[in-house]
């Protein structure tokens, strides 16, 4: 019997390895995601294109514009005439236009002397991109008013992520997502394909117990996921410099639980779906969407409307991602995330039980 089981595992592995393109893509997806999030995409706003309208290019104006141009948050796009403001904003040539008052120098002088004056600078923003507009306003205020003096009153520190890399936050999210993709989606599709082509029946009439056939199907995907897991952790540590000071063993242990959970989800989908197309669509709608939207991967859970915050509790990825963030970035030990662990374990056991039961029911 043992021999039979191994030969099934071998058959499944060969089957998967033969489709080189899919394998390549599965291995590439995490790497590309890590590189993109690590180096290409930043949720922070910088390189804001700014244009300036100045009726008179006085020394005061030039000095202020110099400060703007030298600031790394801005890209100075040049002086424009009053009439071109709207066009520049509309076509995206500029995100912000700074308009200096006609007698800027004199008014600025009066202001420093304590004489009340009307506004001397007008900032017009393309607010269609809200984050960009908000950040631009804040940056411009501090640059133009020389608010540096005030900044000196504060001593600021960014805990856990001093360089403010947005990648840190995304690494656990990527993991939560990839494992569902590999384990749940690929397993379900491959089981359903065997159902569609009729080879499943051939396997089921063999003397091997059905549960073993299912496990044999899962083992190769489990192995792939482990390889992906190690790849991601290595990239996270050495490419992105995620600290992981809480110890790697806890990260591995919890990830294994999550892998088991994803596999059971895949099995469950395969018992529901009749065709590959249905399996793909169910995986995409019922598993991918909630993970992308409700797990805190892209959008912080506390920003969600109350109703969705409640729903997010039943999304397993949410707990996994939460725990991973604490362990990988904040460097907490596994003991500190016992609640998340317990929830994930509970979900895994119940999902596995339900899907095995459904699978066996289908056989009878």
């Amino acid at each position: 019997m043992k021999h039979n089981f191994l030969s099934f595992v071998k058959k499944e592995s060969l089957h998967i390895l033969r489709d080189k393109r899919t394998m390549l893509v599965v291995m590439l997806i995490p790497v590309v995601l890590m590189v993109l999030f690590g180096f290409a995409i930043s949720t922070e706003v910088n390189n804001i294109n700014v244009a300036v309208v100045a009726p008179e290019r006085t020394d005061g104006v030039k000095e202020a514009v110099d400060r703007l141009a030298n600031n790394s948050n801005f890209t100075f796009k040049g002086y424009i005439g009053q009439e071109r403001i709207d066009e520049c904003l509309r076509t995206g040539k500029a995100t912000a236009v700074v308009v200096f008052a006609a007698d800027y120098d004199r008014l600025a002088m009066q202001a420093t002397e304590g004489v009340p004056v009307k506004p001397i600078i007008q900032v017009i923003l393309d607010a269609s991109n809200v984050n960009m507009a908000t950040s631009a306003t804040a940056y411009l205020q501090s640059i133009l008013l020389g608010a540096k003096a005030q900044q000196a009153m504060f001593e600021t520190r960014m805990l856990f992520n001093p360089q403010m890399k947005s990648a840190y936050n995304f690494v656990p999210g990527i993991m939560g997502f990839i494992f569902i993709l590999v384990c749940a989606m690929m397993t379900s599709v491959s089981i359903v394909r065997e159902k569609e082509s009729g080879t499943m029946e051939v396997l089921l009439v063999s003397p091997v117990r059905p549960v073993k056939i299912i496990f044999a199907k899962m083992i190769p995907y489990f192995t792939i996921s482990c390889v992906v897991l190690v790849t991601i952790l290595l990239l996270a540590r050495y490419l992105l410099g995620v600290p992981m000071s809480g110890g790697v063993s806890g990260i591995f242990a919890l990830s294994l639980v999550y892998l088991a959970l994803s596999l059971s989800l895949g099995l469950l989908v395969s018992t529901i779906a009749g065709t590959q197309m249905a399996a793909l669509l169910i995986s995409a709608m019922v598993m991918m969407m909630p993970i992308l939207m409700l797990s805190g991967l892209l959008f912080p859970i506390e920003n969600l409307p109350k109703f969705f915050q409640v729903i997010s509790n039943i999304v397993p990825a949410r707990w996994y991602i939460d725990a991973m963030r604490k362990m990988m970035i904040q460097g907490l030990p596994i003991a500190a995330v016992w609640k998340e662990c317990a929830i994930l374990l509970g979900m895994t056991v119940s999902l596995l039980a339900v899907s095995l039961k459904k699978f066996n029911d289908k056989l009878e």
């Binding site: 893509v25 809200v130 908000t134 936050n169 599709v189 892209l298």
Partner: protein, 367 residues
């Protein structure tokens, strides 16, 4: 012409008979447009603040009450012990810790006081950064006020700002055009590929290949239904955006449809090309997924292209959605005109031609 007509009829019959697709085509856009704008908020609000007040002066109380009064900040607690605050931060109950040093209020009046220390949880860099900004601004304003009681000029008032095109800074308005693009990518990107690979798997494509039908007609007949479906989906999405979020395009509706038509051609052509190289649905799905992932992350849908490093910005020139994101957002929110957007439209047209030519060439009737 007759061949084209019967093929189109066949595609629509097949879509209609499918148990999933018609529902998907109607329900998916409505659902996405209803739910996603509520979820996709990357703007930061509700920053939880804990104040460690070692000063206990009128100034420090004033700072605390200003934090409490701010729309964006929520005061979780005020304690005298940094340890407790840090624990709250680790457990996620608070995002930012403000520590006001002893004798701050007294020192402020006479000389330079010790610095106020502000620590933000930067696990989520965006939230940490913006949260920090809010807190610094709020406290700076308080301090300016405290000092300003001696000086008549409020420095903040020297600058006025005008938030054009979206005066209420409604983040949803920014995301709605992006959602429409996501809908196009998902529906017109995945479905054509699945449809062709499905025909390969079922063997019916062989029956087609043995007829004199030209590859061009076949490819076109696969494109046109998704073209129509895409425009239908766009219409639904625009109606929902108008009814639910009160957002109507500032620019020309004709231009929106024109650019959408081009974009659907691009994405469906790409999808067909991928399908021509795939033998199984799983393969097609994963390859499509790989590209769609890059499209969604790098073309400015979620994060601005301008904020990317230079090398990444060069890559975006090869991503067709990048051009469409720019068009749709500008036309929808800012009323940009055809003339101002012609180079983006031309780029889309170029990609449409490229991918559909590729889809036609790579479709092999004889191997």
């Amino acid at each position: 012409m007759r061949a084209f007509k019967v093929l189109i009829q066949k595609e629509f019959l097949q879509i209609r008979r499918n148990a999933f697709l018609p529902r998907l085509i109607i329900a998916f856009p409505i659902m996405i447009m209803l739910i996603m704008p509520l979820i996709m908020t990357m703007d930061v609000r509700n920053v939880n603040v804990t104040v460690v007040d070692l000063d206990r002066s009128t100034t420090s109380h004033r700072i605390i009450s200003h934090i409490e009064a701010s729309d964006l900040l929520t005061l979780v607690s005020s304690t005298a012990e940094y340890g407790l605050a840090l624990q709250a931060l680790e457990e996620g109950r608070t995002d930012v810790i403000v520590q006001i040093p002893a004798h701050f209020g007294r020192d402020l009046a006479v000389s330079t006081p010790k610095k106020i220390s502000i620590n933000a949880n930067a696990v989520n860099a965006t939230k940490g950064g913006i949260g920090m900004q809010y807190v610094v601004q709020t406290i700076a304003r308080t301090l300016a006020e405290v000092r300003g009681e001696e000086s008549p000029v409020n420095i903040q008032e020297l600058i006025t700002t005008e938030n054009r095109y979206n005066p209420t800074l409604n983040y949803r308005h920014y995301m709605i055009p992006a959602l429409m693009i996501i809908l196009f990518i998902l529906i017109c990107g995945f479905l054509p590929a699945l449809s062709i690979v499905g025909e390969k798997e079922s063997g019916s494509i062989e029956q087609i290949n043995v007829t004199p039908l030209s590859r061009f007609t076949f490819t076109l007949a696969k494109l046109v239904p998704y073209w129509i479906i895409g425009l239908f989906v766009l219409t639904i999405a625009m109606i929902v955006a108008w009814l639910v979020y009160g957002l109507v395009p500032v620019g020309s509706i004709g231009l929106i449809y024109l650019s959408s038509m081009l974009f659907i051609l691009v994405i469906s052509g790409f999808s067909l090309t991928v399908a021509n190289f795939s033998d199984t649905m799983q393969q097609a799905m994963f390859v499509m997924f790989f590209f769609i992932m890059i499209f969604m992350l790098m073309s400015g849908l979620l994060t601005p292209v301008d904020s990317m490093p230079r090398w990444a910005q060069y890559i975006t020139y090869f991503l067709p959605p990048r051009y469409f994101v720019e068009i749709l957002r500008s036309v929808y929110l800012k009323g940009t005109t055809l003339v101002e957007m012609w180079h983006n439209l031309a780029a889309l047209g170029g990609f449409a031609l490229l991918f559909n030519t590729l889809a036609t060439i790579t479709y092999r009737k004889q191997v």
